[in-house]
Amino acid sequence: MNYGFNSEELAFRDEVREFLADYADLDGFYCQGHRWPEVRSMFSAMAQKNWLALTWPTEFGGLGKGPVHEYILWNEVAYARAARNPLAAGIVAKSIIRYGTAAQRATWLERIRTGDIHFSLCYSEPEAGSDLAGLRLKATLSDDGTCYELNGQKCWQSYAQDMDFLWVLARTGTQDSRGRGLSLFICDKAANGVRVAPLPTLDGDQLNEVFFDGVRVSVEQRIGDENGAWSIIGEALADERHIQFPPGRVRRDLEDLVAWLNDHDLGHDPMVRERMADLAARVLETEMLGRKVLATMVAGGNATVDAAMNKIIHTTVCQDIARAVLDLGGPEALVTGNRPELIWRQSLTETIGGGTSEIMRSVVSRQLLGLGG
């Protein structure tokens, strides 16, 4: 057993830290919606180091590194609050590598690797949130078999306002075929019939609705088999489990709270200290659960349950820290844009986005405890 990183991994971590020093004030993790041009240019700078393709096989232009390097990279980026890991180089590219045709790899991978194009994840719909397999957006193959027509609506798309392409999960089978009747498409956001509309959110940012009205997408833009999307999205998710909820973010929230308490001379209060000790232990809990996900992936195992446990605890600890921020911050914590308010605000949706805590609990109870249902 070795809980630490080896010297090569530590050297990589130092290199990442050095790179991130230039982005200390970027705040893209919390505020990507307001900082996209800057975040995008950071991704381009990362691409110069080929870090967007860190774990892609070398034959596809990647560096061929393993999940530990990927974890180190995105954990440091989260700690620096620079950005969230981009969809394109992760879910999209890895699905294309695994399931794409040679032509699709040639068309998309290089543009993603260089940070030239970015994607928005179009899975959820107004009537398909927790129950994703119930989605309705319809993709109908044309009579001549050359293209699909997309009709329907997606909902809650993060950052869709700024992205170039959409990664769309659509129904190609019958409605009652559930997960067995879904296919994946790449759709240009600028295509005729695509409309993105903002959904202003309580954190002062936005999610989006994306409407598809007779949008034509060529068959070359379907990734994987028709009706074969369910396992592709499952595997793509599995590829990302160790970097989706990196503990660096939580550690940073805690450190910011401690700094704020010290600035306000609250660090001596025994009640405050007790609460901070509890939170510090919980941050360690998230770090251990994060490592457990990583360990399972390094060993080539299925990290579904580990990732569900990690997500539940990580996001709850985010909110516990945020609660302490409000409790200890007093009325000042209610002022828009103050650091404590920002930490609080950014914890709000974590237990919903990326699969709700309830759905994660069901994963643990079914798959770990074998409780059926």
């Binding site: 959820s124 809650w156 954190d203 909110q319 409000l326 007093g330 002022v335 844009g337 805590s357 309830e358």
Partner: protein
């Protein structure tokens, strides 16, 4: 013992609810909050209908009608009304025989010396200030407080740069015992507002989950969800009873501290559970839940929050440490 509202109390509640149906509601709250405004129209309507003075007007044998005032404030909170109802209807009558000009804001001296956001301060014509052992009534000149940007559901203000308020010099001292009176009625007001606000947040969530379908059935029909909503309902109901009891006893310190300690803790649970169970839509501005939920967090920030209420309870029951 009689736990039912009597006819007069029932009539008070019905008439304020009629007025609120006309003058308040979530859409109005959203519009006012966006502009950081105070609802002067609702304030005036309540004034004209006599609700601002209800605690004194219905007083019997010189005993304030705390419960009737609390029922009114609870209903206003439930409606999302953007008025300083608790300060006007519960706190001010307990401190002064004459009517205090509204809107009324309340703060501690510390919040003036170390300028801190105070609910309704930017709109207040009267300011009740709590010092350790004294309480003062101040009439701040326009511009003394500047609006603060917040998304927590109430207009707030902070002492403007260069401005100062020295309550012991420019205010009216409210006499012996006024500090305790102010503290207790203020705390009662927070609990009452929390009750009405939690009630509405839970009602909104339950109604949504009754309609929202996933996995071929309504989300509200899942037992795991039902259990959590049941616990929320218990906390709201218990908060209501504790609070009404404290109001009935005209803000007796131990009853108030218990009510506030409980209700403000419940407010956190209600915030977390109603948002979690509403899913993504709960975080959008178009879904009304935030009208109430965000306020729950603001109420917890006042007068030292849950921690101070708990300390007050221990002190009231077992004496000072």
């Amino acid at each position: 013992m009689d736990f039912d509202l009597n006819e007069d109390q029932q009539a008070v509640l019905e008439s304020v609810e009629r007025l609120l149906a006309q003058h308040a509601g979530p859409a109005r709250a959203v519009a006012l909050n966006r502009a950081g405004d105070y609802d002067h129209d609702l304030h005036a309507a309540l004034e004209a209908a006599g609700f601002n003075q209800i605690a004194r007007d219905l007083a019997r044998d010189d005993t304030l009608a705390g419960l009737e005032a609390a029922l009114t404030v609870e209903a206003i909170a439930r409606s999302g009304g953007v008025v300083a109802a608790a300060a006007q209807m519960l706190v001010a009558p307990a401190l002064c025989e004459r009517t205090i000009e509204g809107p009324v804001a309340i703060c501690t001296v510390g919040e003036l010396t170390q300028p801190t956001p105070v609910r309704f301060a930017a709109h207040a014509r009267s300011l009740l200030v709590l010092d350790d052992g004294d309480a003062y009534l101040v009439s701040p000149a326009p511009g003394t407080f500047e609006p603060v940007r917040t998304s927590f559901g109430y207009p707030m203000g902070r002492l403007s740069e260069g401005a100062s308020v020295e309550p012991d010099r420019e205010g009216q001292a409210l006499g012996a015992g006024a500090a305790d009176t102010l503290r207790n009625w203020w705390r009662l007001g927070l609990a009452v507002e929390a009750v009405g606000t939690m009630d509405a947040a839970l009602g909104h969530t339950v109604e949504y989950l009754r309609q929202r379908r996933q996995f071929g059935r309504t989300i509200g029909s899942f037992q795991a969800v039902q259990h959590r909503l049941s616990l929320c309902a218990i906390e709201v109901e218990a908060s209501r009873w504790l609070t009404r009891e404290a109001a009935f006893h005209n803000a007796q310190p131990e009853a108030v501290a218990a009510a506030a300690a409980y209700a403000l803790q419940a407010a956190d649970t209600l915030f977390t559970e109603t948002h979690q169970l509403s899913g993504a839509i709960g975080f959008t501005c178009e879904f009304d839940l935030h009208v109430w939920s965000m306020r729950l967090l603001a109420l917890r920030q006042e007068l030292g929050g849950v921690g101070a209420a708990r300390r007050a309870l221990v002190e009231a029951r077992w004496g000072a440490a």
